[in-house]
Amino acid sequence: MRTLVTLSICLFAACKHDVPAPPSHEPPPMAADTTGAPGSQDLAPLARLTPVMASESSHRPAVKVPAEKLFDTLASQGIEIASKHQVLATVAAASYCMLGVTKDTVAIAVCEYPSHDAAVAGQKLLDARYRKLVPDAVREVNGSTLVTVANADHHPGVRDRVFETFKSL
């Protein structure tokens, strides 16, 4: 029996020293196992939010007034942007969008387009489609950049200064 066991071990392990070792200890590739994953495939598009926004961020068009330029200029003129972050540009048919919020919670959305005509079209799209979502939104285009100012009814001066600054750039 001992001989048989030794032979077996030899056959399956130690005595295979002349057999080339596997190139890697990496497990073989496996198909994705989604059987235990929560959620329905109907909602798979949700998972695309992050890559879509990453793509938008890496394909920004060259525009005369990028979002950062406007926000920096506003800050230099005393309109502090308390927070700003990228938002989904697809909604506005834009290439890239950022949303800045002042300390008074005035919303300043800046969207960049590949052309002036596209920016004008984006303005019309937002005015038509989202009038009920943000009824007080006011929009202006400069070059191929579209700026939306909202939640500013109590701060009309801020809104005016944002647009004055935007048009001057």
């Binding site: 235990g36 929560p38 972050h85 919670t105 989202y130 943000v134 909202a150």
Partner: protein, 525 residues
């Protein structure tokens, strides 16, 4: 403001974690562990004052749905419930987050032909058939039914594990056994499913209770069986980045109530052709409330499995595994969408195993929710802002405490569906799909908190979040509340936006009688 920057900054990262877990109905496959156990996956919980007519005045209907996303053609085994699990409906009438009454459903399965299975003589041998039916079914216990599901219904007063359940009596035959109808396999198997299923609505009386406020001679009712999915949602397209802004989370064109049944919110219910299994009871309000002066109750459903399971390597129909040990709760559902879009992924399984009395551990998910931040990321280009006030006391009121002067049971915060049984039921034709959410005046500036106005046009205080009826559009209501419907505009800039998810639901879409949810979609014409 630092807080706002902090949560917005993390929101995009959270979106990735959150999105795969937003699923196609109130709570279908919402937590990782429950996806392994669809038979005990609770999906929706309804609790409302019965509205089918005067004969049922004074009764409360409670529906607990399980086994999500059933395709009607799912034979040959279809969608039986787990005979090794415990399905429960809990009622708290004292406001401490601990159940005062628990209705327990326990299921059993047996093969036809007295347990041997229906068989055919084949070439001189008797051979068991492979199907769950052997012919047309017309009534409970039909001879052609090869898999027979029955259940008992027990009632526990006090903590659910403290005392054994008292089984209720089936008034049809004075036994403690009730039959569950076979699933709607198709019209060849069950020619008239409505007539067939109606025979499985049973009368019973609640042990130890002499009801008041109900019509003399009426009884409690119970039904367990397959129904058409009643939840309407279009969350898939809400965030579908291809359709974004068109059929996605949208805004009713004119912003008025009529639009909710119009083009902006119609025909996009992605679960309309699915079935569900419903555990339904209709009981006198007087038997589940604390007393006549305390009409408010809180309710939720849970399912539990035995802690240990040993698979039988030589499995049989009656003994595929051995279960043992104490009950372990694996699913919990009170208010819709809570574990779906409120609780974070690391805690979803914990939530399913938790009890309302311990809900303080989940408070941050309500006071500092991630869903509004996600909506702001999606719609920020329009200038839309998420609410800016934290903690979100409005959400605490809605989801953890009840609506002031309508259905606050106590000051204790816990997640459950709360119902004021004293609010008269609204008839089917008069129900407002936005329920009690229509009963608030716009808050005064800087006054955080809802202003209840029961005289407001369209106000329907008998609807969600005062209980939940099949016709309440809880997705639209939840979206609007999440974006600040109950806050003032200073703190919630788009609070008045008529957000819709593109999937309409209203009371007329459902039956006007117990068990209210519609007959299931047939597996074959």
């Amino acid at each position: 403001m630092k807080l706002r920057a902090s949560w917005l900054g993390g929101a995009l990262a959270l979106a990735t974690a959150l999105t795969p877990n937003i699923v196609t109905a109130s709570s279908h496959r919402e937590a990782p562990f429950i996806t392994k156990n669809p038979k005990v996956d609770g999906t929706d919980f309804y609790m409302f004052n019965s509205y089918e007519g005067a004969t049922r005045a004074g009764y409360v209907t409670i529906l607990a749905n399980y086994v999500p996303l059933q395709d009607a053609y799912g034979g040959p085994n279809y969608f039986t419930l787990d005979p090794d699990a415990l399905y429960e409906i809990h009622i708290d009438n004292t406001g401490d987050g601990i159940e005062d009454l628990t209705f327990q459903f326990s299921f059993a399965q047996a093969l036809g032909n007295a347990g041997a299975g229906i068989a055919l003589p084949i070439g001189g041998k008797t051979v068991a058939i492979p199907l769950a039916t052997a012919g047309a079914l017309t009534a409970p216990g039909a001879a052609a039914q090869n898999v027979i599901e029955t259940y008992t219904l027990g009632l526990v007063r006090g903590p659910r594990r403290a005392t054994p359940a008292t089984l209720v009596t089936n008034l049809a035959d004075n036994t403690t056994t009730f039959h569950k109808p076979f699933d709607n396999a198709g019209t060849k198997t069950i020619a008239n499913y409505a007539n067939y299923a109606s025979q499985f609505v049973y009368n019973f009386d609640i042990p130890g209770c002499t009801p008041s406020g109900v019509q003399s001679g009426t009884h409690s009712r119970v039904f367990v069986g397959q129904r058409q999915e009643g939840f309407a949602v279009n969350l898939g397209q809400i965030f579908d980045l291809v359709d974004m802004g068109v059929s996605a989370l949208s805004v009713a064109p004119t912003g008025n109530q009529a639009d909710l049944t119009g083009a902006a919110d119609q025909g996009k219910n992605i679960v309309a052709n699915k079935n569900i299994t419903t555990l339904a009871i209709e009981v006198p309000a007087s038997c589940i409330t604390k007393d006549a002066s305390s009409p408010i109750i809180a309710g939720w459903t849970t399912s539990s499995m035995r802690q240990a399971r040993v698979l039988n390597p030589t499995a049989t129909f009656t003994n595929p595994s051995r279960e043992g040990g104490p009950w372990v709760q694996v699913s919990r559902l009170g208010m819709p969408l809570v574990n779906e879009v409120v609780i974070g992924l690391p805690d979803k399984d914990k939530f399913n195993g938790s009890e309302p009395k311990d809900d303080a551990q989940f408070a941050d998910y309500v006071t500092n929710p991630t869903l509004p931040a996600l909506v702001e990321i999606v719609f920020g280009a329009t200038g839309a802002l998420a609410p800016t006030t934290f903690p979100r006391t409005d959400l605490v009121a809605t989801f953890l405490n009840g609506v002031p002067t309508v259905n606050v049971l106590s000051s204790t915060l816990y997640e459950a569906t709360r119902l004021n049984t004293g609010v008269p039921a609204t008839t089917q034709t008069m129900q407002n799909t936005l329920g009690a959410a229509t009963c608030f005046d716009p808050p005064a500036s800087n006054a955080v908190g809802p202003t209840l106005n029961l005289g407001r046009t369209g106000c329907d205080p008998a609807g969600f979040p005062n209980g939940r009826r099949p016709g309440d559009d809880t997705v639209d209501i939840t979206l609007r509340v999440a974006m600040g419907f109950l806050l003032d505009e200073d703190h919630a800039p788009i609070r008045a936006a008529p957000l819709v998810d593109g999937a309409a639901v209203n009371a007329s879409m459902f039956q006007n009688a117990f068990p209210y949810l519609n007959n299931p979609v047939a597996g074959a014409p």
